[in-house]
């Protein structure tokens, strides 16, 4: 199964769909899609590990909060990420390890300002889950 694809060109935003056979996969793949917008993930080593816990009222909000947290961490901790491992996940809480390295502008792509609700979608399908996310850049 494809991990994610960028599906539509909006003039001021980026939109992608992430897929997964289960919650763990779709959350990991959405994070990976986000990272590719922020930095050149192939060149970002896994020298630093961070533990992240996210809670929300439902699974849709969990996805938004998860991605928003990762965007904020780039600014706060001055890190680029290239890999995540969801350790535990339910519809309202997740524990994850994210791997990356110190942010270097030459390995950057662009500043992601925020996750938006534009055409946001989180659905269960026959094959698993699909999350559609737009980013304001």
């Amino acid at each position: 199964m494809k991990k994610y694809k960028f599906i539509e060109d909006l003039t001021s935003d980026v939109m992608f769909e992430a897929y997964g056979k289960d919650l763990k996969e779709v959350f990991e793949n959405a994070a990976e899609a986000l990272f590719t917008v922020i930095c050149q993930t192939k060149k970002v080593k896994h020298n630093i590990t961070k533990d992240i816990v996210i809670e929300a009222e439902d699974v849709r909000e969990l996805m938004i909060n998860w991605l928003q947290e990762l965007i904020a961490r780039v600014d706060i901790e001055h890190l680029f990420f290239s890999k995540t491992e969801i350790q535990e996940i339910s519809e309202t809480k997740l524990n994850a390890k994210v791997y990356g390295d110190k942010a270097k502008p030459e390995l950057g792509e662009t500043v992601v300002k925020a996750v938006t609700y534009y055409e946001f979608k989180f659905e269960k399908t026959d094959k698993g889950y699909v999350a559609r996310v737009s980013l304001d850049i």
């Binding site: 930095c39 942010a103 609700y117």
Partner: protein, 468 residues
Amino acid sequence: MKEKLKKINEFEWLLPKGVRERMKVDAKIIANKKLIDAVEDAAVQQLTNVATLPGVVEPVIGLPDMHWGYGLPMGAVGAFDAEDGIISAGLCGFDINCGINLIRTNLTADEIRTKIRELVPSLFDAVPCGVGSKGTLKLSPPELDEVLKRGLDWAVEKGYITEEDQKATEENGKMSGADPSKVSDLAKKRGGPQLGTLGAGNHFLEIQEVSHILDKDAVKKWGIKEPGQAMIMIHCGSRGLGHQVATDYLKIQEQAVRKYNIWLPDRQLVCSPVKSKEGQDFFAAMKAAVNYSFTNRAVMTKWIREVFEKIFGKSWEEMDMKTVYAIAHNIVKLEEHKVNGEKKKLYVHRKGATRSFPNLPVIIAGSMGTSSYLLKGTETAMEKSFGSSAHGAGRSMSRHAAIKRFWGGKVKEDLLKKGIVSQATHPKSLAEEAPEAYKDVEAVVDSVHGAGISTKVARMVPLGVVKG
């Protein structure tokens, strides 16, 4: 929706309130035919959505640089009654007080050209830019609160800029009523290390040359003397701090929509009644982000002056490097405007729009490698567009599409052929900002001039570009 536009004159188009259900007021677009033909239907639809909101005042305005944005197009104005209207984080945009500072010099373009190979890399090194860049300032939390509360008062006190620079800034670079306690810790953590950084995306630092003087009286007042004079333009915003303030209040206002039972045609237009706690808290936090952004550009102004001093061996005062004007283009302001002949207080939401008050400077930035304009605000803008004008060229192609279509190395080469030296953190950031990914700035400026909402004063063309 576009087929419902009615031509008023060469530069104005009406969307009467009947074109969709629940529209309380008309919407109007200011643009010439070429730009109207190119505008996305979805962006036009967004104007009609805003026209349904509580307390909206006629008309909702689309500007010639408008393109689809979150909730409201970039390049639009929505004004709301200060008694029974709404205030909206969605209508302000994610990059609060993204704006422009224009600095003049008494250097000639020829003097710049002889040093440009040294100047552009030195500016690139002095002003941290790109995603993941960190500023060199180390602000304690109480000091960051001072910046949020006092804006350019703080910057003047710390010696980054002078009082004269501050006076040449919208709101004197200090919106009163800014309340740091309404800004989340997360926003402060994001923005704290970033004060004095350019960021990435469409933000830039340009050295320009005046190519045409179009209003001799106005330029005299603003210290611009003749074609060939070198200018400096800074375009950036409130960085992670502003992005987080917007993110936080979109969530808060989403709940407020339910609490106050506000009907919305689009979830992105979350808002709160102007007199609600949620509305006023956003306003106070937004003002803090506005102050942060003006300060961000003030800090960079000092570093730019230092680079010029080092390279040209003269003090910045000797080079007359004074701020012509500093303006915001993503902002909500409480202003007085005439509505049906009566003075009324309104919350004017300018998203990708510049204030255009009579005889005050308006700055419209072109895309990389094309011209930028200094204009003058007008009475007509007070009558037609709540004292607002356009802010830039406006994208016509997404960043992703631009990266697919253009190669950064070629963009750099093409700029060089036009005599423009550029430096970016990596080639893709040049590709995504390729001039072809933007609308024609000349058409944008002709439209605002033609409609009379601001008039041309001077045209500038780039000599050097620094990008994140």
